[in-house]
C-alpha cells in the first residue's frame, strides 16, 4: 500500500492503495466515481475510458501508480456548472443509447477525438471509436452524436 496523489476532475486527493491496482478499481471502489464502467478488463471494449492529460486511456489496464499527479477526467467531470458538455448533449439529442452502459466510455472516447480533431470525417470517427463496444447496436447514432457535437462546436467558434 502507498499514498498516491491523484488529480481527478480538477480535485486533488490522496488514496492509500497498492500502486498496481487498476485506475478503474480505484475510481469505482475507492472514490465512488462509478460512471466509469468495467466491461472486459483487457482494454477491448472501452467502457472504462477516461482522459489522462487529455489522452483517452483504458482505466482497466492502467495502474493507478502510473497516473499520480496527472490530470484525470472521468465522465463525472464533463458537466460544468450544470452545463452538459456538447457531446453529452448530442448523445441525448441523437438518442445515442439504449441501456446506456457503454455511454460514459463512448462519450469520453468521443471527447478525446473532438479535442484532437474538431472536425472528424465519418471514417475518422469509425477508426477512433472502433475500440468501444455497444452491444445494443447504437453505433450509427453515436456517430451522428459526434458529428452533431462537432457541428455545434464549429458553430460556436
Amino acid at each position: 500500500m502507498a499514498n498516491i496523489a491523484l488529480n481527478v476532475n480538477g480535485k486533488k486527493l490522496t488514496v492509500d492503495v497498492d500502486p498496481q491496482t487498476s485506475l478503474l478499481s480505484v475510481l469505482r471502489n475507492d472514490l465512488d466515481l462509478t460512471g466509469t464502467k468495467y466491461g472486459c478488463g483487457e482494454s477491448q471494449c472501452g467502457a472504462c475510458t477516461v482522459l489522462i492529460d487529455g489522452q483517452q486511456t483504458r482505466s482497466c489496464i492502467t495502474q493507478v501508480g502510473r497516473v499520480a499527479n496527472k490530470q484525470i477526467t472521468t465522465i463525472e467531470g464533463l458537466e460544468k456548472n450544470g452545463q452538459l458538455h456538447p457531446l453529452q448533449d448530442a448523445f441525448l439529442k441523437a438518442d445515442a443509447m439504449q441501456c446506456g452502459y457503454c455511454t460514459p466510455g463512448m462519450i469520453m472516447s468521443g471527447v478525446a477525438l473532438l479535442d484532437k480533431t474538431p472536425r472528424p470525417t465519418r471514417e475518422q470517427i469509425v477508426q477512433h471509436m472502433n475500440g468501444n463496444i455497444c452491444r445494443c447496436g447504437t453505433y450509427l447514432r453515436i456517430i451522428a452524436a459526434i458529428q452533431m457535437a462537432a457541428d455545434q462546436k464549429r458553430g460556436a467558434e
Binding site: 441501456c99 446506456g100 470517427i125 452491444r135
Partner: protein
Amino acid sequence: MSEFLEVERYELFQEPTYNFGFDRRQFMKVFGGGLALIVPLTSLVAQDREQGESGRGGFNRDVPQEIGAWIHVDQDGSIKVYTGKVEFGQNIRTSLAQAVAEELHVPVSMIRLIMGDTDLTPFDAGTFGSRTTPTMAPQLRKAAAAARETLIALAAQQWQVEPNTVRIVDARFVNHDTTKSLTFAEVAKEIKVVKTIPADVKTTPVDQWTIAGTSVPKVDGRDYVTGRHKYTSDMRRDGMLFGQIVRPSKFNATLASPSGPAQPKVTEGFIVQERDFIAVGARDPQSAARIVKGINENAQWQAPDQPGSAELYEYLRKTASAAEGRSRPVGSVVAGFAAADKTLEQTYTVAYIAHAPMEPRAAVAEWTGDKLTVWTATQRPFGVRGELAEALHIPANNIRVIVPDTGSGYGGKHTGECAVEAARLAQTTKKPVKVVWSREEEFTWAYFRPAGVIDVKSGVKNDGTITAWEFHNYNSGASAIQHRYDIPNQTIQFHPTKAPLKQGSYRGLAATANHFARESHLDELAVLLKMDSLQLRLKNLKDERLRAVLEAAASRFGWGKPLSGELRGAGIAGGFEKGGYVATCAEVSIDRRTGKVKLERVVEAFECGAIVNPVHLQNQVEGAVVQAIGGALFEAIEFSNGTILNPRFSRYRVPRFSDVPKIEIVLVDRKDLPSAGSGETPIVGLAPAVGNAIFAATGKRLRSLPLAPKGLQGLSG
C-alpha cells in the same frame, strides 16, 4: 393466427412461489391515501389469449395472481405507476410513461415508474418475449383513463357541476362554465380510493394520440450521459464486502476431495464453502481475488469427458429425443413431393452464441435479520426471488428483489445465479456483499443461445408454387418454426436433444435460426428455378402484412437493380414473429484477396401495429440489425471438453463501429392495429439476407451460422 402453439422451452419460466393478493387496507397502508387504480391480471391473460403466437408456452394463461399493475395518484398529486417489468435499454420506462401521460393529459415528466421491485410492484413473469408493449402498455393506459375519469368526477363534485363539463388540460382540471382550475394535488388531497379498472373504460384512439406515438426522449437520459445512473454493479452499501466465486476448472466439475481444498488462513476476508460452492468475500476486490487465487492453487477438480464444438452438430443429431416432436401435419408431404417438379433437400446449422451484455451479471445482497434484499440485474425479478427462496430455504416473502435499470440482457439475464451467490455470501459474512461477474465468467457461467441443426426438404413446381415443406429443427428451438407462406403440404417438427452447454433465451429465441434455414432455402429454390427470390416468396404468400414489408424493403432497396462492382451481391429475407413483420435486404461485397465479407447496405422494413415512439422504435430496429451482424457473420462460442475456449472480447468478436453498414429502416405504421413489441423480431431477417447476398456475389452457398468468421475461402482464382 395459427392455433398451433409450440412450447418454447428456452424461455425460462418459474411459477411464483407465493401468491399474495392485496386488499384495500393493505394498499392504503402502503400508499397512505390518494387514488389507486388496479389493473386486474385477468384482463392481461385475456389479451394474451387473443394474441396467441408461436413460441409462447402458455405459462401465464392461468397465473392465479390478481393484479397486473397499478397506478397511484398520491394526495400531493404525484403520479406513480407500478409494474413488475424492468428496463434493459428497450426504453419502456419512457414508452409506458407516455401511455399513462396520454390518458391523464399530463406531461411525461409528471409520471414516475416504479419497476421490478418484488415488494412494491405486482407479480410479473418477466420482461421478455416482446410482451410489454402489447400487454402492459394497453393495461396501464386503461388504468390511467380510469384514474382520469375518477379524478374528473371528484373535481366535478368539488365544483358541484356535471363531470362531462370538466376536462384535464395540461395537468389542470378545468371547467368551461367557470374560470376555475384545480391541480392534481387539489383534487386528490383528501381522497382514499382503491378501484379496479372497469371493463368498459375508454382509452384514447390511436389517431388522437398526442404523447404516445411521438419521439419522447429517454426520460432519465441525463443520468446516463453524466454517469450518474447507478446500475447494480455501481451500488455500494455500508460495510459492503466484494464477493468472488471460486469457479470449477470445467463444466460439471466437482471437488476431488469432499472436504474441499486446504483453505488458506485469511485475515483480510471470508471463505464460504458448501459442497462444490466456494466463495470469498473481502473488503476490496483485490483482496478477494488474491484469496481466490490461493484457493485455486490447491483445489482439485474432477470432471467427466464432454463434447466440444468440433463434434457439436453430430452430437445434437445423435442425442435427439426418440419421441417425435410435437407437430400438426398439414396435408400430405408425400402427395406434395409427388406433385412437385423439383425437390431440394438441405441442412443448415447455427452455432452457440453469447449475449455478452456490456454490464456483466451483478448482485448486491443484504440481510436484515431474516429478511433478505437483493439488488440484481435480471429480466425476471419474481423468478429470481423464487430461485433465492429455493436455494436458501427461506420463504419468498422474506425476500425482496429490486432491479435497477440494467446494462442490457437480450434474453441473457433470466436466471439468478449471481443473486444467489451474493445472498449466500452475505448470509455467512453477516455483511452486505456485492458480486460482479468478470467478462470471462459472463462468457462461461451464464447460458448461451442454443446451437441447432435444421433439415429442410421442399418440393416445388416449375412456376414457383411450393407443394411440399418438411422442416426439422434439432435443439435450437421452435420460435417461428411456423411461417406465413401458403404451402398445402407440410411437416414441421422441433426435436429436443441433449445440450452440451447451458442454453436459454436469446433475443428472438430460435426465430433467427428458423428464419435463416427457411429464408436461405427459399433463395435456393429460387436459384433452382431461375426465379427472382422476392417473386418466389410473393407467389407463395397471401399474408398482406408480410407482403407489405417485403415490398416496402424491396422498393426502398431498389431490389432487382444491378449492382456495380466486382463480388457484390444482394439478398432478401422476410418473416414474422411475436406480432411483428420484418423484411430485410442486404448488399455485400467481398474482398477477393482476403475473402473478407463487407456488409455495405441494409434496408429493413418493420411493422408492429401502431407505433408508440418512432425514434425509440427506430433505435430498437437498428440495434437489432447491428446485433444480428455478429451472429450472422462471425460470432460463435468455441468449446472443448467442458471449457469455453474464447471467453473474452479479444477472442470472441462482436460487431463494432467498422462492421456497421449504411442502414435504412422503413417503419410501417399501422394505426389500425394494436401495437406489438419490437425488441426481438427485427433481428431475424439479417442472417438469411446476408447469406443470400453472399451467394449472389460469389455463387457460394453458406448454410452455417456464422457465415464467414474467417472470411470466404477459395476466391482468389
